[in-house]
Symmetry: C2
Subunit: 415 residues, 2 copies
């Protein structure tokens, strides 16, 4: 983390380090106020963690992410440790006015729960008091948009992706009319928010699928550490950051009811850890084009070094193989960029396998067809990682923009 | 948290508050060394959590729990946020000497992984560097003990519990020969440790069942907050604490190869949240005998107030009903105490239900028959909560004592 932070607004933020050293004395007084145990533990990293001498972490359960705004939360939000993705199918009788009623109720639930308040009909209000950065992000499938506003409102990218040869899609993990992405640093909070939203959605829609994912816990690693997937690979190095100047161009749609919204792609990608185990370290690094130790490109030293795709070995082969993942994923066309927000999954295996594990690949981009599909097509044609990974679920949703207090998510479509 | 801490050894610990104020100046210097951002964030609780202005939590990924010791870790350890319980069945050909080989390998894996080092055969060593208080606790089923040392080594409580009328047990969630309890504040760490242990166990045993559970994230709530279950109930108020004087008597076995070990009971208890929703708040409080707001007994004000079972309402009924959970669970016999270490579970439901949720009720006690069974029998006979909860899995394991470096878990049985 640098000492100068840039705010999402683009303006340079206050230097934290400056604040600290300028305000050290005041700070020490504040330390006593917030709890001396907390501070002392921070001054003694690595102390024993058994009960009786345990390090007390900074409390973050009351941290909140604003609900209302130009964009929905849960996209540019630094990924929380846990996420549940739920797709629902609308009941047959649900029409435009019922959709409006449903989205008003669900918006109200999300607005309250994300701020640490119980939902209106919350029968366990005590469970809603620990938001831990809870976000609820809603998405609409093609059927939702058709019922809401007819075919003219349908973005051309909203529907099943073109077929890829590597796909082994299971309808049980694919498609849907309505999406909830429910994410928090606390798994218990995700469970309670999920139940509250499903209770209020139940008369309008039925659950089609539910997918849980996890990342490192808040505070497990330094903020800004690129995620590793269950293969051990550093995964997402080139991901644009919400602080980047062109983030808005990559992610946010500009026109019509979707202005300020985006497209959401979820690819449930099974990773064959048992087969991966039979590949040696060099083979693993060649398949991706990056070192396992720190994710540096095979032509570089540090994770964020620019890969040199022209570099050759002493016997004339490319150092970063043609078939490697980073080479195939990279485009010359700067319009073909996406913003990834992936989660890992790990379920008890059935049968003789040791693992049923993989990646909930999630990406946001203004236009799924123009930005996501070309990348996936290149990976489909030739990507050594395909040997160990299989897409088994696929879904695309339109993520409407955020709303103001008094409005509701989807109000630009349902007005 | 009090300012005076008592160590598990029973000796009074150093006062943290005293240390802080005595060493404030040195502390401030240390703060700069460990990272000013961390400290400053602790001095500004409640700052915005969006990327760019987010509060940075104290880093706890490198926190470790000692592996070697008189007792296995993961019992008196303050419960971590995530736990996976795995039962394995031994392969037919595994004899005493194979058990010894297996436990040496698994002990070595656990000793390394819990200290943030890769396991010896770790093919993804980079995934082992964030222990986040990882503990691995091993347990033995009756078949393991029989093969290891014959019937004379079998504790009389090691085997399926007596049948209870409320049970609807599924063999898919019951019994087993070998138990792994793998727990960490980081779900990713649990996933990696699980895989490493299963890879090394694979030639000795097959997986019988796997059960994941979660509690509040580290730092979501103040340490010492009693867990709430998914019904919203404060759950575990009367649990003994490892600091209590009689904790050792409740938990640790005293004799034979199990001296320093304990018994482990897991009851997978389904909670019917949909049915619970139809019960009003007063009915919910009567079913347990505690208020939902803070878990106080219905005759008290604060959570830890002693319940007054003799108190009567104005029309002569007991304030805490005869059928309430706390009344039935409470024993006059102080030998009938257990130490609970439960986790919640929440899985995607099948069919029309909104939830497949419940409690992985876990308890440790020196003797499962003498301590756990009498409590469960009273609850089986009469406990209003039985209306909404159903035990669907049950398992008992013998938890051997800890070991010293150079030894292995089970060496008191397998010598």
């Amino acid at each position: 983390m640098t000492s100068e932070q840039t705010h999402p607004s683009g303006r340079s933020g206050v230097s934290r380090r400056g604040l600290l050293f300028g305000g050290a004395v005041a700070g020490l007084g504040a330390a006593a106020a917030v709890g001396a145990d907390v501070l002392l533990n921070r001054l003694q990293p690595g102390t024993a963690t058994e009960r009786g001498g345990e390090a007390m972490p900074a409390l973050h359960g009351s941290d909140t992410v604003p609900f209302y705004g130009t964009h929905q939360a849960g996209i540019a939000t630094t990924p929380q440790a846990h996420a549940t993705f739920i797709a629902l199918d609308l009941r047959a009788e649900i029409d435009r006015s019922a959709l409006r009623r449903m989205m008003r109720v669900l918006t109200d639930d999300a607005a309250r729960l994300t701020q640490g308040e119980p939902a209106l009909a919350d029968s366990e209000p005590e469970l809603g008091t620990v938001p831990a950065r809870l976000t609820v992000t809603f998405g609409f499938g093609p059927e939702f948009v058709m019922r809401a506003a007819g075919p003219s409102a349908l973005p051309d990218w909203l529907g099943p992706l073109p077929a890829f040869s590597i796909d082994r899609l299971d309808p049980a993990w694919s498609d849907g009319d309505l999406l909830f992405q429910i994410a928090s640093d606390d798994a218990f909070t995700v469970a309670h928010a999920t139940r509250m939203l499903l209770k209020d959605a139940r008369s309008f829609a039925t659950v089609r699928w539910t997918q849980h994912g996890f990342r490192r816990a808040l505070g497990s690693e330094k903020p800004g550490t690129t995620m590793r997937n269950l293969f051990g690979q550093v995964d997402g190095t080139t991901n644009p950051s919400p602080e980047d100047e062109d983030f808005a161009r990559v992610v946010w749609a500009a026109d019509g009811w979707l202005a300020g919204g985006t497209s959401f792609v979820l690819r449930r990608t099974r990773m064959d850890l048992d087969k991966w185990d039979r590949l040696d370290r060099s083979g693993r690094e060649q398949s991706v084009g990056r070192t396992l130790a720190n994710g540096a490109p095979l032509t570089g030293v540090n994770e964020h070094d620019e890969p040199d795709f022209d570099a050759k070995t002493s016997i004339g082969f490319p150092v970063i193989p043609e078939f490697s993942h980073i080479r195939r994923a990279r485009s010359e066309n700067t319009d073909e960029r996406i913003f990834r927000r992936a989660y890992n999954y790990d379920h008890p295996p059935s049968g003789a396998e040791i693992s049923d594990s993989g990646l909930l690949f999630v990406s946001f981009q203004a236009d799924a067809l123009q930005q996501f599909v070309p990348i996936q097509r290149r990976l489909d044609e030739l990507d050594l990682l395909n040997e160990w990974t299989t897409p088994i679920g696929s879904a695309v949703f339109a993520i409407p923009p955020g709303c103001v207090a008094g409005g509701y998510i989807g109000d630009t479509l349902l007005v």
